[in-house]
C-alpha cells in the first residue's frame, strides 16, 4: 500500500507529543569488495565502463554457465570478521534468493542465508566522550545486481549488467542504535574500518558503500519493537541523517495521530527531504531461499584465518590503545589520530621521521595540518606537506631553532611548496636568536625607548612587563627566544 506524502512539514519540529518516543535503528550495509574480478566470474569490476562491456556470459546468465567463487572475496570477508572480532564460520553455504527483476539476470541472487560466512561481532563507536558497542549480527557474501537506466528510450528502461556479480559483503547490525546521530556514527566508523582493512574503496558516489536503515519507534521504556520501515540505498551520511530524522518524525506523528505503521520499503528523496514507500508492489516477498546446488560449502580453516590475520594491518582500536600506552597520548588524541587509516599512517610516518615527542607531532597533525587540509578540502593522503617534511619542521621546533609561532610561518611556506623547513628558515632568516648578548642589546634599546612603561612596571603594574616583552619580541622580528627575553628583562628591571 503506498503511503501518502505526509502533511507534516517544518512545524512538526514544534509539535509536542503525548508520549515520549524512542527510535530503534538497525543497519544493513552493502559493501562492495575491492577485487579485480567478479565474485563468481572473471569479468572486470572496474567502475564506469561502457554499458554491458563487462558483462560476461556468467554476468548475463547465459544458459549453461556456472559460478565459481573468487578467493579474494572470501579473504575480504575473513578480514572483516577478524576486524570486528566475529565468529568466522568454518562452513558456510551459498543460497539462492529468488525474485524477478530485469537487473537480476538469473532471476535469483546468489547470497548466503542460513549459514553466513561471518557471525556475531561488534563495532565500538565514539559519541563525544562516550563509547557505545554496536552488535553485528552477521555479514554475508553475495553478488550485486546490475543497474536500470531510465529515460534513454521513451517508456523503456535500459539494463546495464556491468555491476551484476560484483562482490558484496552485506553487514547487518542488531537494532542497537537509538538516534540518527548514532546510526551515522556507526556508518562512518564502518566506512572507515572497511577502508582501513582494505576490503572496500569506500567510494559512496559510485555506490561502493550503501546503507539500508531499518527504523521503528516505540514508547520509551517499552521492550517490544515497533513495526519497522526500511529506508533503502542511502549513499551519503548527510542523507542518512536527514532520512532517519524525517522517518522517525513521520512514524511518531502517524502513531500519535492514531495511525499504524505498515512494514514497508521506502526511498529517501534528497530534493524534498522526505521518505516515500516504493511503488513496486510489495507482493509478499517470498524469496524461496535454498542452497545453491551449483556451489559447494565454503570451508574456512584456522590456517586460512591465520594467513589472513598475518596480512592484516593493525586495527584502529588496537592502534588507539597503543598510542595511549606507548606515546602517552590522551584518549581523545589517540582516537582522532586513528579515525582513518590515512591519518594514522600520516601520523606514524611523521613521528618515525621526527623521532621526538609524540604529543608535538600529534598536535601538528590534528592542528596545523588538519586545518590547512580542511581549508583546501583535501584528503590527508593528498597533503602537499609530506610526513618527512613535517618531521623536519618538528625537529626545528624541538631543538629551539624556531619558536612555535615562527613554525606556523614556516609551515605556510612549506604548504606553498617553498621547500624544506631548514631551507625556508635559512632563506628567510627565521632562526631563533638565542645569543644572550644580542638579546640584551635589543632589551636595552626597548627599555630606553619605553621609559614610561618601565615606570608603570616599577609602580606595580604587572601588565607593563608583558608589554615590554612584546616590544622586545617585535624588535627581534619574533626571532628572539621568548624564555630568554623574559629572563633577561626580569634581571634588568630587577
Amino acid at each position: 500500500m503506498p503511503i501518502s506524502r505526509s502533511r507534516i512539514g517544518i512545524r512538526a519540529c514544534r509539535r509536542v507529543f503525548k508520549v515520549e518516543w524512542e527510535v530503534v535503528i538497525g543497519l544493513e550495509t552493502h559493501t562492495q569488495l575491492k577485487t579485480n574480478s567478479k565474485i563468481f566470474s572473471g569479468a572486470s569490476t572496474t567502475y564506469g565502463a561502457a554499458p554491458n562491456t563487462q558483462a560476461c556470459e556468467v554476468s548475463i546468465a547465459l544458459p549453461g554457465v556456472l559460478p565459481v567463487l573468487n578467493q579474494e572475496a572470501v579473504r575480504c570477508a575473513i578480514k572483516f570478521g577478524l576486524a570486528v572480532n566475529a565468529e568466522i564460520a568454518p562452513r558456510s553455504v551459498f543460497a539462492r534468493k529468488n525474485y524477478f527483476y530485469p537487473d537480476l539476470p538469473k532471476g535469483y541472487q546468489i547470497s548466503q542465508y542460513e549459514l553466513p560466512v561471518v557471525g556475531k561481532g561488534a563495532l565500538t563507536i565514539q559519541l563525544g566522550d562516550t563509547e557505545k558497542v554496536i552488535r553485528i549480527t552477521r555479514a554475508h557474501l553475495e553478488e550485486d545486481a546490475g543497474k536500470s537506466v531510465h529515460g534513454a528510450v521513451e517508456g523503456m528502461s535500459g539494463i546495464d549488467l556491468n555491476r551484476a556479480g560484483t562482490p558484496l559483503l552485506e553487514i547487518v547490525t542488531e537494532p542497537d542504535m537509538r538516534s540518527a546521530a548514532e546510526a551515522v556514527a556507526y556508518a562512518k566508523k564502518l566506512h572507515e574500518l572497511v577502508q582501513w582493512i582494505g576490503i572496500c574503496d569506500g567510494n559512496m558516489q559510485e555506490g561502493s558503500f550503501r546503507c539500508d536503515v531499518n527504523v521503528s519507534v516505540r514508547p520509551k521504556g517499552t521492550d517490544t519493537l515497533g513495526t519497522r520501515r526500511e529506508i533503502k540505498n542511502l549513499n551519503s551520511f548527510k542523507f542518512m541523517q536527514q532520512a532517519i530524522e524525517y522517518e522517525t518524525r513521520w512514524q511518531i506523528e502517524t502513531l500519535e495521530d492514531g495511525g499504524t505503521i505498515q512494514q514497508a520499503t521506502v526511498l529517501f528523496n534528497p530534493d524534498t527531504g522526505e521518505t516515500r514507500a516504493m511503488r513496486s508492489k510489495e507482493e509478499a516477498n517470498d524469496y524461496r531461499y535454498f542452497p545453491d546446488p551449483d556451489l559447494l560449502p565454503l570451508v574456512i580453516s584456522e590456517a586460512d584465518k591465520d594467513a589472513v590475520r598475518a596480512d592484516m594491518p593493525e586495527l584502529p582500536q588496537a592502534m588507539k590503545a597503543r598510542f595511549e600506552a606507548e606515546f602517552g597520548l590522551s584518549a581523545y588524541d589517540a582516537s582522532a589520530l586513528t579515525a582513518a587509516r590515512a591519518i594514522a599512517d600520516y601520523f606514524t610516518a611523521t613521528l618515525a621521521a621526527f623521532g621526538g615527542e609524540a604529543k608535538l607531532a600529534a598536535n601538528w597533525v590534528m592542528g596545523g595540518v588538519a586545518a590547512k587540509l580542511n581549508e583546501a578540502d583535501l584528503d590527508i593522503s593528498a597533503s602537499p606537506v609530506l610526513p618527512a617534511q613535517l618531521a623536519g619542521l618538528l625537529k626545528r621546533i624541538a631543538d629551539n631553532t624556531i619558536s612555535s609561532k615562527i613554525a606556523k610561518e614556516v609551515f605556510e611556506a612549506m604548504w606553498a611548496g617553498e621547500g624544506e623547513a631548514d631551507s625556508i628558515i635559512d632563506s628567510k632568516g627565521l632562526k631563533q636568536v638565542t645569543d644572550s648578548g644580542a638579546i640584551e642589546a635589543i632589551i636595552d634599546g626597548v627599555l630606553a625607548a619605553n621609559a614610561a612603561m618601565v615606570e608603570e612596571y616599577r609602580a606595580g603594574k604587572e601588565k607593563a612587563f608583558n608589554a615590554l616583552v612584546g616590544q622586545a619580541m617585535k624588535a627581534s622580528k619574533g626571532k628572539a627566544n621568548p624564555a630568554q627575553v623574559n629572563e633577561i628583562l626580569k634581571k634588568k628591571l630587577g
Binding site: L62, G64, L66, V68, P102, P105, K106, Y289, D294, L296
Partner: protein
C-alpha cells in the same frame, strides 16, 4: 559401416579406407533420408559439420589423430555449442545461437570428433518420452508408433537407427538409461562430477550429469575418455586423475572373466510395477552373468521406493530457479505483445515454455515457498541421504547392483502424455542413482514381444562412485557373449 564400432570406424579412418568427410557425408545422407520421419535431430548444419570433418582429415593426415578424430557424433541439444542453434527442446530458445562452447563440446572438438548435429529432447530435459519437445516427438526406430524414451530421445533414436556413430546424452533421473533401454543400445550416466556441467543447460543442477550413448560398452569407454575430466568452470567438477576407461576391456575374455564379482539384486527392483516380460529378460541376463563367473547376492534398498517423491520435489525446485533466467530480457523468446514489465515476464514465460516445464516450475515454486520448505524441500533432502545410505550399505555386500532399467518397454506415443504421474513412474529404477550421485548404465539384454513387435529391454548396472571402468568391463564381458547390442531395427 554404420554398424561398426567406434574402434572399427577409427581404424577405417586411420587406414585411409575412408575419409572423415566421406564417413560424415554418409551419416548426413542417412539423416536426410530418415530424420523427416524419426525426428531425432533438431539442428543440422551440413557446412559446419563437413568443415569439421575436413579438419579431422587434415589431422589424420598429419598423424595427430586421437581415437575419436573424424568420427561423427550427435550432440544432445542441451549442450551450448558456438554458432549452433541450441534450443534445449524449447520454444524459449528457438532463436538461441550458442555464443560459446560447453565443456563437453570443447572436449569432443579437441579430440577431433565431428559434431553431426543437435538431437531432439524433452523440453529442458523434462520428460521420459521426448513428447514434451517443442520440436515434436521422436519416433522409436523399433516401432515408430512408440516413443524412444526421454529426455535424451533424439540421441537415443539416432544411435538406434544408426544416424550417428555415437551420441551424448544427459541424465537427471534416467534420461540416458531409460531411452537406452527402450531403444536397445548402451547408455551410461557417470558419477556426478566426472563430466563438466559447464555449458550443459541446467535442469536440476545437483542431479544433472552427461554421459555417452553408444552401441556398445567399448564405444562408451572411448567416449568416456573424451568426456570426463576436471573443468575449473564448474564448481561441482571433481579433480581426479585422468582414467583410461578402456584399460580393463581386453581382459574380459575367456571362460569366467567375472569370477569373484558380486552382483547385488535389490528385491525392491523386482517387485510390483515391473512388467513380467521385462523381468524375465533381466533374469536371463543375470543368468548369463552367473555363467561369466559372477556371484549373485540378494540385497535391499528399502528407501528407493521414495526416490520418485524425493525427485519430484528436488528436481522441480532446482528447475524452478534454474529456469528463472528465461525472462525475455537478454536472449530467448519475448512475447510479441505486453502491457508492462510484469506482463512481459508472465506472457513470455507462459508462451515460451511448454505445459510440462510450466508444471514443474510451478511445483518447484510451491515446494520452496514460505511455509512449505521444511515439509517438502528439507524433508526430500533428508530422505535423499537415506537413499544414498542404502546404496552405501549395499556396496558392502556387493560390487555392482543389477536390475531392470525401466519398468516396461517403449510405450505408445500419447499413451502417458496426459498423465504426468504415470509418466514419472517410468523412472522408478533410475532416479535413486541420480539422487545418490552414483554411476548407472543400461545395456541391451534382449527383447520383449509386445503386440507382435520385438521391443528392446535394457539391463541396468549400478556401480559405486567412480567405478565406471569396472562397470564398462562388466558390460563388455556380457557383450562378448551376447549379440543384443548389435541388433538393428528394420527399415533403417
Amino acid at each position: 559401416m554404420i554398424n561398426n564400432s567406434l574402434k572399427q570406424l577409427g581404424a577405417m579412418l586411420a587406414s585411409k579406407q575412408i575419409s572423415s568427410v566421406e564417413m560424415t557425408t554418409e551419416f548426413l545422407d542417412r539423416i536426410d533420408q530418415h530424420n523427416p520421419d524419426i525426428n531425432a535431430y533438431i539442428a543440422l548444419d551440413r557446412e559446419r559439420t563437413l568443415a569439421q570433418a575436413a579438419a579431422a582429415d587434415a589431422r589424420i593426415a598429419a598423424g595427430t589423430a586421437e581415437p575419436l578424430t573424424g568420427i561423427p557424433i550427435a550432440q544432445k541439444d542441451i549442450f551450448v555449442a558456438k554458432g549452433w542453434q541450441t534450443t534445449c527442446g524449447s520454444k524459449m530458445l528457438e532463436s538461441f545461437i550458442g555464443p560459446y562452447d560447453a565443456g563437453v563440446i570443447e572436449r569432443f572438438d579437441a579430440a577431433g570428433a565431428v559434431n553431426l548435429g543437435k538431437t531432439n529432447m524433452d523440453e529442458f530435459a523434462m520428460g521420459s518420452s521426448n513428447e514434451t519437445s517443442y520440436f515434436g516427438g521422436v519416433k522409436n526406430p523399433w516401432d515408430r508408433s512408440r516413443v524412444p524414451g526421454g529426455s535424451s530421445g533424439g540421441s537415443a533414436a539416432a544411435v538406434a537407427a544408426r544416424l550417428c556413430a555415437a551420441a551424448t546424452g544427459t541424465d537427471t533421473g534416467g534420461s540416458i538409461r531409460q531411452p537406452a533401454s527402450l531403444c536397445g543400445f548402451s547408455g551410461l550416466k557417470p558419477t556426478y562430477g566426472l563430466v563438466s556441467r559447464y555449458g550443459m543447460i541446467a535442469f536440476a543442477s545437483s542431479l544433472d550429469q552427461a554421459g555417452p550413448m553408444a552401441k556398445s560398452c567399448e564405444d562408451m569407454a572411448l567416449m568416456m575418455n573424451v568426456m570426463t575430466g576436471f573443468d575449473a568452470r564448474d564448481s561441482t567438477s571433481l579433480q581426479r586423475d585422468k582414467e583410461d576407461y578402456t584399460r580393463g576391456l581386453p581382459a574380459m575374455t575367456g571362460d569366467k572373466p567375472l569370477a569373484g564379482l558380486r552382483v547385488g539384486l535389490p528385491r525392491e527392483f523386482f517387485a510390483d510395477g515391473l512388467n513380467a516380460q521385462v523381468s524375465s529378460v533381466v533374469q536371463a541376463a543375470i543368468d548369463e552373468y552367473r555363467k561369466l563367473g559372477a556371484e549373485i547376492v540378494a540385497i535391499s534398498l528399502p528407501n528407493t521406493r521414495l526416490s520418485i517423491p524425493v525427485y519430484y520435489v528436488l528436481a522441480p525446485a532446482e528447475a524452478s530457479s534454474n529456469l528463472s533466467r528465461y525472462d525475455g530480457v537478454r536472449y530467448g523468446y519475448r512475447a510479441p505483445e505486453y502491457t508492462d514489465l510484469m506482463d512481459m515476464y508472465c506472457k513470455s514465460r507462459a508462451q515460451g515454455f511448454g505445459a510440462e516445464v510450466k508444471r514443474r516450475i510451478l511445483i518447484g515454486t510451491y515446494v520452496l515457498s514460505a511455509g512449505y520448505y521444511d515439509a517438502y524441500y528439507l524433508k526430500a533432502q533428508q530422505i535423499r541421504r537415506l537413499i544414498a545410505d542404502d546404496f552405501a550399505a549395499a556396496f558392502t555386500q556387493c560390487d555392482v547392483i543389477m536390475g531392470p532399467t525401466a519398468p516396461g518397454t517403449a510405450f505408445r506415443s500419447g499413451e502417458k502424455a496426459d498423465d504426468p504421474v504415470a509418466m514419472y513412474l517410468e523412472d522408478l529404477y533410475t532416479i535413486a542413482v541420480n539422487l545418490a550421485g552414483l554411476p548407472g548404465m543400461s545395456i541391451p539384454a534382449g527383447f520383449a514381444e509386445v503386440e507382435g513387435k520385438a521391443l528392446p529391454v535394457g539391463l541396468q548396472v549400478i556401480g559405486n562412485y567412480f567405478d565406471e571402468a569396472r562397470m564398462l568391463d562388466i558390460g563388455h564381458a556380457y557383450q562378448q557373449v551376447t549379440d543384443w547390442h548389435t541388433r538393428m531395427p528394420e527399415g533403417v
